[in-house]
């Protein structure tokens, strides 16, 4: 980022800081969630039922249409050519062979691509969505190894792919900075994340560390990771009159519409982005070059375009997680009370994005240490912009922090579960805010009992079964409750008792559509079958990012606001001839397909009756959720107690996870069936992070060398043991429905639990992920 934009971010940060203080001190009742959501009281309705996915039958039958499957008349197929240097320029480009190849319609490169305004990079404006702010096929400059330099358009995908291999590009390389070590020598700079410095100090942590009776101080490293959703990034686009229609696989349709509108100088409502189904997002299905290139190409050849990245293409065009080097130092007294907590380190970004991997986030509210020092430094490399990936910050940050806690427990000879409980804070150690709901101790106790933690011998390397050493480890997982502003929803209620909820939210396989249908039915007092939940369309109300595990809260608050508006309208329509006559909106709840007085449910009138008497076929209301001030008033976090049993082969060093349990405290669980899958899926990603995932970035060229699922390892079925999942189910009184998002927490803590179990099994402390067998020989 430029100095100007850094300054702008810093200013925003300062303003936010002042506002945060005011919000922190305000009375609870002024804050969203100050009055608990009435749905928290509803215990026997739709919420909490293990409803199967409503989109399940469509997917099983192959009738769910994904972005790359929309058939458009006269469509052409695109194939990309990528740069092979990290920095420099295109000296020459020979497209003549490609242009005359069979089926080729056009070849687009920087010389003939339609002109485009600079991309609005994520976090530079409320709806900015691009992964970076670099020009997209506008210039001869090359900014990373793998940057698209040409798009070949042909009548079939095979013809396009073949012709792409005929494009001859001559690059002129310039000196590039692609090594973390080299960059560090040139100096690091402080990281800014969402306008705030990733820095926090309370007391003199280094002095307290030096004076501590017992201490551990170590360096932990995590490698580069790549997104690998099963569905490849694909898009089908068409210019229809003055409208640009984009069938996308997206976790941010409204952001995408606005950002593409900015680049093409169009009003955002002329860019229609739809995304009914997404085959996995994980932070990677945002706005990257492929959607923009497809729109440019469609403009160039005046035909609809389908562009599906190859698996290699995903590695070249879609950012992943940056490597981290983290120091964690803990100082404690002999009873294990923390006197010093230091968590600092360095990570990698580019000059064109604003996303330092924020690995200190989980440490902010973790433990009651007397002193605290947190800091993230960044270096900027010539590489594809990194991005949000599967619990950015928390996943790799908890690996370092929770490994260090295990090392401290060992040094103190205190049980690792007990050590964590001893350091449980009364209020948020960084912000000083009260916790909205924190029941990690309960999660620890229940989890330990169910896992059989008492069978663990704290002395490492003693339990052996044949060739295998067996060990147990544990770690805390944590992820914050987020709710971003801009959420809005529309409820349309029909006289026949059917309701439609419209919101520009997303279903990427998590179960959002299912769980939110349950919530809406509960809120409206309707049977499940009477509610349709529409999402995945930028023309619907609301700006709802499916990220940061915040959709559940954002949708919940928006639909809640729309419901309040609906009650108002219905009371007006009900008039004086209704049993509801004279009641105020606050006195009334939805129940049994109508409204009733909250504390006198017999005073009830059905929606059908109200609407028919008012001679209205339907009523439609739209409202915005309140600004998300609750996170500045309470410290709102989910937690998990993770337990792992691992076996390490004494001959080969092979580590295999044999048992895993996650005990979660995430507020109220809306749908135990989809939630279980979310938790398990997260833990499986955590196992991948622990044991095998690594994008091999060859620093000589700045090029990822394993861009395929055969060489970039993620867990296979045999790597995944039975995963037991339990939860406290204690509602958060200050969150909509009492629920906090659960999409990402399963990934957090998992890698540390595995590494700690490996230590218990072998006596070898691995501080460098992935935990491959060569580190255990």
């Amino acid at each position: 980022m430029s100095i100007a934009s850094d300054a702008k971010q810093a200013l925003q940060g300062a303003v936010q800081g002042v506002m945060a203080k005011a919000v922190a001190l305000a009375p609870d009742s002024w804050i969203p969630g100050g009055e608990p959501d009435p749905l928290i009281r509803e215990r026997y309705g739709h919420i909490g039922k293990p409803l199967s996915r409503i989109d399940g039958p469509l997917k099983v039958a192959g009738r769910a249409t994904f972005a790359a499957e929309f058939p458009l008349e006269d469509m052409v197929y695109a194939s990309l050519v990528f740069s092979t240097i990290a920095k420099g320029r295109i000296a020459a480009m020979d497209t003549s062979h490609a242009e005359t190849a069979p089926g080729v319609v056009a070849v687009m490169d920087h010389r003939n691509a339609p002109r485009l305004a600079p991309p609005p990079v994520f976090m530079s404006a409320p709806k900015a969505a691009n992964g970076d702010n670099l020009p997209i096929m506008q210039e001869s400059e090359v900014n990373w190894n793998g940057e698209p330099v040409a798009v070949v358009l042909a009548e079939t995908q095979e013809q396009a792919d073949h012709a792409a291999s005929l494009v001859r590009v001559t690059f002129e390389a310039a000196p590039a900075l692609t090594s973390l070590d080299e960059a560090r020598e040139q100096g690091t700079k402080p990281a800014l994340f969402m306008g705030q410095p990733l820095h926090d100090e309370r007391g003199d942590a280094e002095a307290a560390l030096a004076a501590a009776e017992v201490k551990v101080d170590a360096l932990y490293t995590t490698p580069r990771h790549n997104h690998n959703a099963i569905e490849l990034h694909g898009v089908t686009v068409a210019w229809q009159g003055d409208v640009l229609r984009i069938h996308d696989a997206s976790q941010l349709v409204a952001h995408t519409a606005w950002s593409i509108g900015q680049m093409f100088d169009m009003p955002e409502d002329k860019v229609i982005v739809t995304s009914p189904f997404v085959g996995g997002g994980f932070g990677g299905k945002c706005l990257w070059q492929h959607q923009v290139l497809a729109a440019l190409a469609a403009k160039l050849c005046s035909r609809p375009v389908r562009l599906v990245l190859s698996r290699e293409g995903v590695y070249r065009v879609v950012g992943g997680r940056s490597p981290t080097e983290q120091r964690v130092a803990l100082g404690a007294d002999r009873e294990g009370h923390l006197k010093a907590l230091v968590h600092t380190g360095v990570t990698v970004k580019t000059a064109s994005n604003a996303m330092p991997e924020p690995f200190i986030l989980p440490t902010r509210s973790a433990y009651a240490s007397e002193t605290l020092k947190l800091d993230v430094q960044v270096v900027e490399l010539d590489m594809l912009a990194n991005t949000f990936m599967r619990a950015p910050g928390e996943s790799v940050g908890t690996f370092a922090l929770e490994s260090a806690m295990d090392e401290l427990a060992e040094a103190l000879n205190i049980d690792p579960v007990e050590l964590r409980i001893r350091n449980e804070p009364e209020k948020d150690p960084s912000s000083g805010l009260p916790f909205s709901s924190r029941h990690i101790v309960e999660a620890w106790r229940t989890g330990a009992a169910r896992f059989g933690w008492d069978r663990r011998d704290p002395r490492p390397g003693l339990r052996r079964e044949g060739e295998w050493l067996v060990g147990m480890g544990c770690a805390t997982g944590t992820y914050p409750y987020y709710r971003m502003g801009g959420g809005a929803a529309r409820i349309t209620l029909m006289q026949d008792g059917q309701a439609v909820v419209d919101i520009a939210a997303h279903e990427m396989g998590m179960g959002t559509a299912t769980a939110q249908t349950q919530v809406a039915a509960e809120r409206l007092g309707l049977p499940i079958e009477a509610v349709r939940f529409n999402y995945g369309d930028s023309t619907l109300p609301g700006v709802v990012l499916a990220g940061g595990s915040q959709q559940t809260a954002a949708i919940g608050a928006s639909v809640g606001a729309a419901h309040r508006e609906l009650v108002k309208q219905l009371l007006k329509l009900a008039g004086n001839d209704s049993p509801l006559a004279g009641l105020k909106p606050d006195d009334v709840i939805s129940r049994d397909q109508g409204l009733c007085k909250a504390d006198e449910t017999a005073r009830h009138e059905s929606y059908a009756s109200i609407l028919s008497r008012a001679q209205q076929p339907s009523v439609s209301v739209e409202a915005e959720g309140p600004p998300p001030l609750e996170t500045m008033h309470w410290s709102m976090h989910s937690h998990a107690a993770m337990f792992c049993e691992v076996r390490v082969n004494t001959v080969t060093g092979e580590p295999r996870v044999s048992r895993f349990l996650g005990s979660f405290d995430c507020g109220r669980i809306l749908n135990p069936k989809t939630a279980t899958s979310q938790f398990r899926g997260g833990i499986i990603m955590g196992l991948g992070l622990a044991l095998m995932e690594e994008a091999q970035f060859d620093e000589r060229k700045g090029r990822v060398m394993n861009p395929s699922l055969s060489e970039y390892h993620v867990p296979v079925h045999m790597d995944v043991p039975e995963i037991d999942v339990i939860w406290t189910d204690i509602p958060d009184p200050h969150a909509p429905m009492g629920a906090r998002g659960i999409g990402e927490i399963g990934i957090t803590g998992t890698a540390a639990a595995v590494a700690n179990a490996v230590y218990n099994a072998t006596g070898k402390r691995v501080r460098d992920l992935p935990l491959t067998l060569d580190k255990l020989l």
């Binding site: 001959v651 060229k701 079925h717 491959t772």
Partner: protein, 328 residues
Amino acid sequence: MTPFRYMRATDAASAVLKGGAAGARYLGGGTNLVDLMRENIETPESLVDVTGLPGGIDELPGGGLRIGAAVRNTALAEHRAVRLRYPMLARAILAGASGQIRNMATVGGNILQRTRCSYFYDEAGSRCNKRHPGEGCDAVGGFNRNHAILGASSACVAVHPSDMCVALAALDAVVHLRGNGGERRLAFTALHRLPGELPDVDTMLQPGELITAVEIPPMPFAARSTYRKVRDRSSYAFALVSVAAALDVEGGQVRDVRIALGGVAHKPWRAERAEALLRGGPLSATSFAAAAEAELASAQALSGNGFKIDLARRTLVAVLEDLSGEIA
């Protein structure tokens, strides 16, 4: 992928006629060749599909087997005689790839699959002497964790990826070949070559020569044999190191032994030194360790694969201990 002609052969003679043409390649299950064509690493002008050629799994007098080159990997691994007489072969096949791939892959295709070196696969962005002789090797100074520790050259440090071939190398298999010049037989261990200065040449096959069958001689003691594969995940990963071994024991002495290593060299590595040391010697942990030591004595580590030398030794010793335990 570059456009190509597709032809189907129904007998070996016509296959060889078609396959002898310039730019022709034989197609088995296509689980490797088609991938390489998609990556523009292989650009044949024509493919001669040989999956329809006759030849199943036939019993030979004396107890050996003759396996048609078009037999699918799954069929071979599941064959009763293979499981009973050569369990190392069944285990090796089942340790490779995935069920779907094994259902497609043929014996001939498995033998001729090419290295998975990521620099070999990166046609657009990396140098590779196997793809373009003389341009240099980016693997030597790059990611070479999976690469060779035995028999490599300065031109190429790639490894052969097959599991099945490791067992065939240990079992004294013989390949049946047919070319325009007629038929010949070649010891399996002489089929693949070390890279030397010609890393683009994987095998000793003549241009247009077709593998028609693999013959495994009778080896009664191979009924007690095994295959152990060490890898970074439990399935669907290439071997870091693998060992195929059979042990014949009488009166506390090693009467005979067969050992081959996978994941360590440009070809399936028959461990002749270890075998020679063990043969006729005592059945003991010391002799196993000495044999492993001798076999790996010439091993050389690259920047990222030093651990494989120790891993190969340890795995070999453990396999021999396992087999001797089974016998005792």
